[in-house]
């Protein structure tokens, strides 16, 4: 049996009185790619933001690498070095160069040696074909370039687990492929464990080992990618796939 990297049990989340996540249960194995699909507003962002402590949850447990997480801000701060996250809005720090954006985590959070961290950052930048932009400021980059830097910034900490929240949703169409390729490379070559929220169905179909289908804060389906795309079990999932046009 594969090692479980992440286990979520009976997770419940409320925004005030609004119940947005209902009894969420799932786990992710080492090296597994899980895509989280569902209509807008179904709670995908809320769920993955719970997994790195950006949202609090009211009930349930999250277990990471065999340790049940005690959800204090201090603990999350440590865990975020292991659980990387990239957002739709990429949000590079506009006051820092690309290189300094990337180095902030390794040198300040992890206190890595500056020279070694810089070499690693250069290697990562080269891998996303942005070597020439090390000294550029974020506002000089296109959306696609900025998102690639944001991914590198997360990877520079050498996380064990990655969360991607609709990272191509705000990009121009011609920029999307480049970013998806990087995520595919991570999955295939680096065997990275990850949860990917995306509206790119062809990409989801190709990259996912398993699909979680979320609707109104509930996991309605949790099956292999093959099964989900060829033979969804619930009518809601069928409707969703039909509406996605791919």
């Amino acid at each position: 049996m594969a090692d479980k990297v992440l286990e979520v049990a009976h997770l419940e989340k409320f925004y005030g009185k609004k119940h947005v996540l209902h009894d969420i249960n799932f786990s992710v194995d080492q090296g597994e790619v899980v895509t989280l699909l569902g209509p807008s507003g179904s709670g995908k962002s809320t769920l993955i933001r719970c997994l790195n402590g950006l949202e609090t949850y009211q009930k349930g447990t999250i277990t990471f690498e065999g340790q049940k997480i005690v959800p204090t801000e201090k603990n999350w701060q440590q865990l975020r070095q292991k659980i990387g996250m990239v957002f739709q809005s990429y949000d590079l720090f506009p006051n820092l160069t690309v290189m300094d954006n990337i180095l902030l985590g390794p040198t300040k959070v992890q206190k890595q040696d500056k020279q070694a961290a810089r070499q690693e950052a250069e290697r990562l930048l080269a891998s996303v074909e942005l070597s020439d932009y090390a000294n550029a400021y974020p506002r000089e980059l296109s959306g696609g370039q900025a998102q690639r830097v944001a991914i590198v910034r997360a990877l520079a900490l050498h996380p064990d687990f990655m969360l991607f929240d609709e990272v191509t949703a705000s990009l121009d169409p011609e920029m999307v492929r480049g970013v998806l390729n990087i995520i595919e490379g991570l999955a295939d070559q680096d065997n990275m464990t990850m949860i990917v929220v995306t509206h790119e169905m062809n990409f989801a179909k190709q990259i996912a080992d398993r699909v979680l289908f979320l609707q109104d804060g509930e996991i309605l389906e949790q099956t292999s990618s093959k099964q989900f795309f060829s033979n969804p079990q619930t009518s809601r999932a069928k409707e969703f796939l039909d509406s996605m046009d791919f």
Binding site: N52, G53, L54, E73, Q77, Q78, R80, Q81, G84, M85, F87, S89, D91, L92, F93, P94, N95, L96, T97, L104, G105, K108, V109, Q110, A136, Y137, P138, R139, E140, A150, R153, A154, L157
Partner: protein, 219 residues
């Protein structure tokens, strides 16, 4: 309008000019220091100090400088605390300006977007590191326009010092008018004197605003 009268008054205005500049300078530096302390205490939610800071800001923002000066100059001596007029002026100006500066800095810190803060958290930055590398650099840049407005505002407020007889520019002009009844000439010099301070300063501050917008955020 008589040029001779203007000319004769210039040495006195010169002294007033220097004093206005000096009081403004000390008052602005002091206000920035007080404002920075208050905004940091509020940003880091330091217990007790944070409440003190917000009470101070409320009092300072909601009372006129004129009343603050009367208090310092006339009421405090009754309690056995006595300052000279100039010290009263400086304390009053800092008391007033500190809250304006605090609100300017706080506005800048709050202007840094939530998604920037979350991106910082997502790479494991601690609260202090987040402040140091993300929120403060961006927040200070964002607060520059408010700071610039405050600087101009505080310089103009020094004209109120005349009520406690500090011989700054306005006081000099009013004194001369009282003595020689030549209001046209003296008010003319007064306006020019303030313009000499404020117009170039305001141009410099506008340039600074442009620079931080395009400067610290890369160019």
């Amino acid at each position: 309008m008589s040029w001779a009268i203007i000319q004769q008054s210039l040495p006195m205005f010169g002294k007033g000019f220097e004093l206005t500049l000096w009081l403004s300078f000390v008052g602005i530096i002091g206000s920035i220091v007080v404002g920075l302390i208050c905004s940091l205490v509020q940003y880091f939610r330091v217990p007790v100090f944070r409440q003190i800071a917000s009470v101070y800001v409320e009092i300072s923002r909601n009372t006129p400088l004129l009343i603050q000066l009367f208090f310092l100059y006339y009421a405090f001596p009754v309690l056995g605390i006595k300052f000279g007029a100039q010290l009263c002026g400086i304390i009053g100006l800092i008391f007033l300006g500190g809250s304006y500066m605090a609100e300017g800095f706080t506005g800048g810190f709050n202007g840094v977007s939530k998604s920037q803060v979350e991106s910082g958290k997502a790479i494991g930055l601690s609260r202090w590191q987040l402040a140091r590398y993300v929120v403060f650099p961006q927040g200070f840049s964002l607060s520059v326009p408010a700071m610039a407005a405050n600087v101009i505002f505080l310089i103009k407020e020094t004209s109120i010092f005349t009520v406690i007889a500090i011989p700054e520019l306005t006081n000099t002009a009013l004194d001369l008018i009282g003595m020689y009844y030549r209001s046209n000439e003296y008010l003319f010099v007064l306006v020019i004197a303030y313009a000499i301070i404020l117009v170039p300063l305001s141009i410099i501050l506008t340039l600074l605003e442009k620079r931080v917008r395009y400067g610290t955020f890369g160019n």
